[in-house]
Symmetry: C2
């Protein structure tokens, strides 16, 4: 069976049983999930399952999944841990193809009796062929089918090219919420917890084939099958980028992943080798994960190394040059012709026209300035360091739109990427108007495929990760 | 003459001449500065100087500084570069003790004729004893006397313990604006540009003595007197922390600092030695500079190494443990008694109670939970990873106030620092209400001397810099 077909009931279920929904106690996972699913707008049939209820959230409820009269593709399970195996057996009997088990309290507790329960789940899965996500997870989010995570009622309803898999439910939620703010939209998101049946390798292989997914991101605590993981990464990174945030390298970090998802974190040196030998992209922390994904999403296939940093202030250029050169890029001096053109635009006093370009004042660079730089054959990428109050000329959304449209036009005309470093607004309560403008400008930039970063350092880091991946791809192609 | 007395006309002038104020063209530096000074509320007399004007911004103007009938302590100069020397001679004749020269276009242009002008300024200063800040700078900000930078009319009017010196005017402005948002208040801020007379060593020595200043921060492109700088740092860091952001280490970075402030950036290996041998605190970028200053400002003299990371989600603990252990801290397992108490508070399923503490859900930890941890003898610092929508219980400022007050109470009762990692709000325009709450919560935390960070990684980095400084201090004391 092809992997796309095998995973269809998971990502595109036509009907879904929500086992353990009570409707009464809203803090119970089952009820929370039922509300999420309804609120988000699941497109198929929903069957709440609870031993005593008749109707839950205006849906007819069933006392056992076996009593549902119609076919059921997928089920979520949030019942006490010790009855999960028997509920799973009911699901098998009903002919359900896959389940997500939200319930926690299995091998991650470190208690033998509870680890035993997880073993039973795994055995049932192996013997019956039912596929299990979890336990101890938040499940699956797939906007195309209206399926969402346990607490994901307010996630974006439109699909996008970014997939995420992670053992942590919390980080899956944060990635969706914070990533959405930076313009990310998602194909599939999976929180898979203890990975007692389906694990990272299964999901990675599926996402590699999934036509909706262009960029794969992952938060990983430990892997069950190191060799399989390594081999899968090696193959998949040739097709799609895989951006991985791996944790658990220190003593306490490793203790934490063990008590969280019962994972073996693994030695850092082994992971160093995995990253250096597979082309997988290594990131550290949620910011880097999102920053890097933004770069992969909006920048073209081969970004080049010639950077120009443009800003109103000499310190910007100095710090930008340091950041980009340390990240493996070059800031070649502008060609004499470019310098001549820039000299006509900027008075020599208090400016610098060699690259970095210091325009002397924090107002955005003019069209003539950007044209001169974009026409310089040594420059591949224009990094613009800007402040929202100057882009918006003291608060004018119209001026902001014009400035960004002009910059986007330069990018299109010359086919050279622009990176917008848009400094954060001061965190005063009084600066909320500026923050609103910042967020609108950010949206305009992203819409024009111009990545937005809060600092030169973060932009340089994200671009270096994209560049490294592109170099790995080139090397692989050369070998073939 | 004592340094405090010598620098008094610079930081506490009773009267000030603004030379080159025209009042007509608002983009001219002189007029901009005059407006800043008036708007900010300079406490002394202001004398605009312009060859043709009678009145500027409702102040009587003079055609030459020599014609001012009263005594003048300090002057700003923003006239064309080639007449700066003669204007400076006028200042000497008038008996002015110090000037700040905003005009650019001297040695940083790389042109011999212009470098010659700067040499003349230096010679006049040396021979007459008048002190010069700049040229090519934004000057001095000192809220206590109502003196502000060239574009600093909206800076905080109240003083605080943080000083900043920097060759870049832009970064001086940004540090004040962004730092203010994170609760920083300033004693003295100096943008000193080309440093043709007064340089970083002079200002560092002054700030070391200045009773208003507790923390010295700096942005440095290059130093004029390496040996003097090294010696000064060594002495000053015993008295006050000096946090330095140094740029210009790469080829283009070094080119940028040369064209910006005519500085020699210096080899990175030499700077490595400076930092390792003096106790000066090294940071990279504006975020790190502010993050680190926040740690120095709000944390006590000896912070200890035992960290507990508390959050609702196992991934948080794993990432937090990695970040803090890699930064040189420990996450010791909680004592059995602590674990017993936490076990009673948190169901075992889906939580981890060994340190890091995974509370299972993103709601803030209860008083009982924090008390249990604060009473654990192995724990010195509590790092709380939180989301604003849960601190504020879905949008209630009252709930937010109560939560933060409770946490501040724990810190006070047990004398153990709390670090608030308060995740950024998603950058959607729709999340501005959450952003407003975030900013209010941030203010409440800072008021309670609880540092606020946007991520675990950034908090760990800032604390590691404070810890390193404290260890250096201890070693110095042991030697004595």
């Amino acid at each position: 069976m092809s992997r796309l077909k095998e995973f269809k009931p998971i990502f595109y279920p036509r009907s879904m049983a929500v086992i353990g929904a009570s409707g009464s106690a809203s803090f119970k996972f089952g009820s929370m999930f039922l509300a999420s699913l309804k609120g988000f707008g699941f497109k198929g049939e929903i069957y709440p399952v609870h031993p005593k209820a008749d109707m839950i959230l205006e849906l007819k409820a069933y006392s056992n999944v076996r009593n549902i009269p119609s076919e059921v593709d997928f089920a979520s399970i949030s019942v006490p841990a010790d009855i999960v195996p028997s509920v799973l057996e009911d699901c098998v009997e009903k002919g359900i193809k896959a389940v997500e088990i939200f319930t926690a309290g299995f091998s991650e507790t470190g208690e033998e009796k509870k680890a035993e329960l997880e073993k039973r789940i795994r055995t049932i899965a192996k013997e019956s062929g039912i596929r299990v996500i979890g336990p101890n997870c938040f499940g699956v989010y797939c906007p195309a089918s209206g399926l969402t995570l346990l607490p994901g009622y307010d996630f974006p309803k439109e699909s996008g090219p970014v997939a995420f898999i992670g053992q942590s439910g919390g980080y899956a939620v944060n990635f969706c919420a914070e990533g959405k703010g930076m313009g990310l939209r998602f194909s599939k998101v999976v929180s898979y917890g203890n990975a007692c049946d389906l694990n990272e390798v299964d999901f990675l292989k599926y996402l590699a084939e999934d036509p909706e997914t262009e960029i794969i991101t992952a938060y990983i605590e430990g892997v069950r099958d190191g060799r399989g993981f390594f081999q899968a990464l090696k193959e998949i990174t040739r097709v799609k980028p895989v951006i991985i945030w791996k944790v658990g390298f220190t003593e306490a970090g490793s203790r934490a992943v063990s008590s969280h998802t019962s994972s073996l974190a693994g030695e850092e040196s082994i992971w160093d080798a995995v990253f250096s030998q597979t082309g997988a992209v290594r990131v550290n922390g949620m910011e880097e994960l999102i920053d890097t994904t933004v770069a992969f999403l909006h920048l073209p296939g081969n970004i080049g190394t010639g950077i120009s940093v443009v800003g109103g202030g000499g310190g910007i250029g100095a710090a930008g040059a340091d950041a980009y050169e340390k990240a493996g890029f070059d800031l070649p001096p502008f060609k004499p012709k470019t310098q001549d053109r820039l000299r006509r635009l900027y008075q020599p006093a208090g400016t610098g026209i060699k690259n970095p370009l210091d325009t002397g004042a924090p107002i955005p660079p003019s069209r003539e300035c950007l044209e001169a730089i974009a026409e310089d054959p040594g420059i591949d990428i224009l990094v613009l360091y800007q402040f929202i109050n100057f882009i918006a000329a003291g608060g004018s959304p119209e001026a902001m739109r014009e400035t960004i449209a002009m910059q986007a036009g330069i990018k299109e005309t010359y086919g050279k990427p622009i990176i917008a470093v848009l400094r954060p607004t001061p965190a005063d309560v009084e600066s909320l108007d500026a923050e609103q403008l910042w967020r609108k400008a950010k949206d305009m930039y992203l819409k024009a495929d111009i990545p937005v970063y809060l600092s030169l350092e973060r932009s340089a880091k994200a671009l270096s990760k994209l560049r490294r991946y592109q170099r790995c791809l080139d090397e692989t192609k050369t070998k073939i």
